[in-house]
Amino acid sequence: MPVLAYCVTTAEVALKVAQTGVAGMTVESVDESGLRCFVSRRESELPMSSLATREEALAFHSVLQELFRQTTIIPFRFPTLLADEALSAHLREHAGQYRDTLARLKNMVQMEIHLGFGVAESPESLNVSGTQYLRRRQGQRRELEELAERFREAGAIRSWRKRDSARGVRCFALVQREGIADFQRQAAGVTVGSEIGVRVTGPWPPTEFLKEK
């Protein structure tokens, strides 16, 4: 029977989870090689199309959030559907990697900072030459990089990663679960130029840090 996989955690932790998850399916756990994987078994009569909706993505998120509030989790992307035996085989094969990652990220959460200048303007809309436009974009880019650095220095961060986004720069901070409030307070103390938009979100499961750099 196909299963929808939510996340993996260690088998030692006792966790409470909602009875129902995506599409009203029961959430259950599967133990394999010292890991506990939360899944829903897809009833054969349940059409695939019923899973691929915004509501079901939110239901998936709710299950993850409930577990994430209790412990460190490694989520699967939605929707990860696979045969029961394929999931067990995957967990068996990669049990060591999962256990090491869960140990490394134990009690850690991911906070995110989105920095950007809003909607990108074209040279035509600004009524400037291409060179001037590119210089302006370069300056904005530098400003965002410097601001990202100020955020990085502001908080008690274990690890820091950043990457370009469509609107600017997206920064990921790995912080201790107990340090969330401190991080938010320190982030709130960073001075930001009036043209720059900033959004701080989290805590999220530390998915950007699954791979060690």
Partner: protein, 77 residues
């Protein structure tokens, strides 16, 4: 943030329209991908990704044309 622009500080628990985008972005783009066959559905038709990014085809067509077994699960990412 000491800022005169419009700042929005959110948590992932805030189910407003802005954080909805964040939530969808996370569930769809973050987390482990199991390499192999991923079945998704579009307009009521089950589709299968072989190797996730190589082929996108209907399940029926894929099974009709596939003579080999699906690739083994890969590393978590």
């Amino acid at each position: 943030m000491s800022n005169t622009s419009q700042d929005i500080a959110l948590t992932s628990d805030a189910f407003d329209e802005v954080s909805l985008l964040d939530i969808l972005d996370h569930v769809l783009n973050s987390g482990v991908i199991i390499h192999g066959n991923l079945v998704i559905s579009l307009a009521g038709v089950d589709l299968v990704y072989v190797g996730l990014d190589v082929i996108l085809s209907s399940v029926e067509t894929a099974f009709r044309h596939m003579s080999t077994k699906p690739p083994p699960p890969g590393k978590p990412r």
